[in-house]
């Protein structure tokens, strides 16, 4: 048995992971979630803002981490719609350009169709700028310098939503959904920290530990990957019963494969250590 484990072909491990992830997806399994403090801090802040507050939503990720971050985007935009906040979408990722557009379509234009949100009055898509952290630095003094037009290249000054917007300081909250560079650190260094604007972050799981040193002063709260999205969905469902339907909550649905994947990894670590201690034991006997 130990020999079998010692010489285990890694493809068996890959197969086990495939089954651990795919079976719960096919079985549509889900588990209950309870929001933790870092998520509730963001939820309560957005909930407490007066109607019509300005929220900048920066989709700083590409399609690679879309599976992990899209549920965060959906849950937060849903909340902003419920509170009728004004939403400014943007991205710092060249391959992330279609992603805000997709969320706008699925949430604002379809799910909240009855709210009659108007483009240019209630929300706007600023599009993409390639200047990486320089975008944030310049937006600190002049948003229109970095985004003189919206994504369709129509002048920003022509939209009522942009009339009273000069710099990032006019935002009541910056929400960055981030996977790497430019993202969380750059928004802290050049956005929230020097300007004193509130910043909330939705990040990939691997990046989440890097966010903790900034909590709670430089960063209001953190939604860490699928778990963060699921907790936000749970908070939203607690407050707004219409969102209790599990079919609407992608984060909660995606926690089931994560549950089994985590258990598999624990099992693999244990098996690996069984092999290790068996080898040590045999070595000591010799």
């Amino acid at each position: 048995m130990i020999d079998l484990l010692r010489n285990l072909d890694r493809r068996w491990i890959f197969l086990a992971m495939l089954l651990a992830v795919s079976i719960p997806i096919l079985a549509q399994q889900s588990f209950p979630e309870r929001p933790t403090k870092t998520v509730l801090d963001v939820f309560n802040y957005i909930e407490g803002l007066p109607e019509g507050s300005n929220i900048l939503l920066s989709f700083d990720f590409g399609p690679s981490s879309d599976g992990e971050l899209e549920p965060i985007a959906t849950a937060v935009v849903r909340h902003c719609c419920l509170k009728r906040h004004k939403m400014f979408f943007m991205t710092l990722y060249p391959d992330g350009v279609p992603l805000p557009e997709r969320t706008i379509k699925s949430v604002i234009e379809q799910e909240f169709e009855s709210y009659n949100f108007k483009y240019g009055e209630d929300y706007i898509n600023l599009g993409f700028n390639n200047a990486e952290e320089l975008v944030i630095i310049v937006m600190g003094t002049d948003i229109k310098k970095m985004f003189p037009t919206d994504i369709e290249k129509k002048p920003l000054d022509g939209f009522p939503i942009a009339e009273n917007i000069t710099s990032l300081e006019d935002m009541d909250l910056i929400f960055t959904i981030t996977t790497g560079y430019p993202g969380m650190k750059e928004w802290v260094q050049y956005g929230s920290s020097p300007l004193g604007v509130k910043l909330a972050v939705g990040s990939t799981a691997v990046q989440a530990p890097e966010a903790y040193p900034y909590l709670p002063d430089q960063m209001l709260g953190l939604l860490a990957a699928i778990k963060g999205a699921a907790e936000y969905e749970a908070a939203l469902a607690d407050k707004y019963p219409a969102f209790r339907d599990p079919a609407k909550n992608q984060g909660i649905k995606r926690m089931a494969p994560q549950f089994w994947a985590h258990l598999l990894i624990i099992g693999l670590i244990v098996l690996g250590n069984v092999v290790y201690f068996a080898d040590r034991f045999q070595g000591a006997r010799r």
Binding site: P98, L134, Y212, I266, I269, G272
Partner: protein, 231 residues
């Protein structure tokens, strides 16, 4: 001289401008200008990169080196993406008489199609490979070889359980007053206290390393990145 001193002078002057712009408010605009210059250079470098890509793969195809078929696929994909993006193939603007006024990634356009049905699934697949590599690394590398490694493993167990419903369920009998003893509670403490302390220490070290390296670059002490160390 031209190869080492002149580039270093550009580096030094730009660095000094950035430092001055940080402390002198009327010069703050210079910081933006320097950034804009970098963007222009990086955009020009795209052309250099594209040319290099072309040259490398054409060489490989013409010499029929091993794997030349992959190079052909690469060049074909490169040219197709470039052409449909530049010429906005399939873009329908608000006014059909001026289709070029539409966005290059407008829904239904050829580039949108490539993004949606080729690029996004391919990139998502590559990222998803991580799950498999994490599993194989967990089996192969996470061994309780010594006290430190054992502590690391214990923390990993707690966080892995605490970040799923398994942790909540296993410690559901713990009263709310002792929530710090539940798996989610212990996870919060590990991430919020121990992880934060470690992260901050590493961050301070890195920040000082960046400062010292920047200073060496500004003063021209270390010019190995210019390819002219002994110049």
């Amino acid at each position: 001289m031209l190869k080492s001193t002149f580039p270093w002078l550009i580096v030094a002057v730009t660095g000094c401008v950035m430092i001055a712009a940080f402390f002198v408010p009327p010069l703050a605009e210079w910081k933006n200008e320097a950034g804009a210059w970098f963007e222009i250079l990086a955009a020009m470098a795209f052309v250099v990169g594209g040319a290099n890509l072309f040259a490398q793969h054409l060489k490989k195809i013409s010499a029929r080196r091993a794997g030349w078929g992959y190079s052909a696929v690469t060049l074909f994909s490169f040219v197709v993406t470039l052409v449909v993006g530049l010429f906005k193939v399939g873009v329908i603007g608000e006014d059909p008489n001026y289709p070029w006024a539409g966005h290059y990634q407008a829904e239904g356009s050829a580039l949108w199609w490539l993004y949606q049905f080729a690029y996004q699934p391919l990139i998502g697949t590559m990222f998803a490979l991580l799950a498999f590599y994490v599993a194989s690394a967990a089996f192969r590398a996470f061994r309780a070889k010594n006290t430190e490694a054992t502590m690391l493993l214990t923390a990993a167990f707690i966080v892995l359980l605490g970040r799923t419903y398994a942790g909540t369920w296993l410690t559901s009998a713990v009263p709310d007053d002792y929530s710090a003893l539940t798996f989610p509670g212990m996870t919060a403490i590990i991430l919020g206290v121990f992880n934060t302390a470690g992260q901050r220490a590493i961050m301070i070290g890195i920040a000082l390393g960046v400062a010292a390296t920047s200073l060496k670059v500004l003063l021209g002490v270390d010019r190995s990145y210019l390819g002219s160390d002994g110049d």
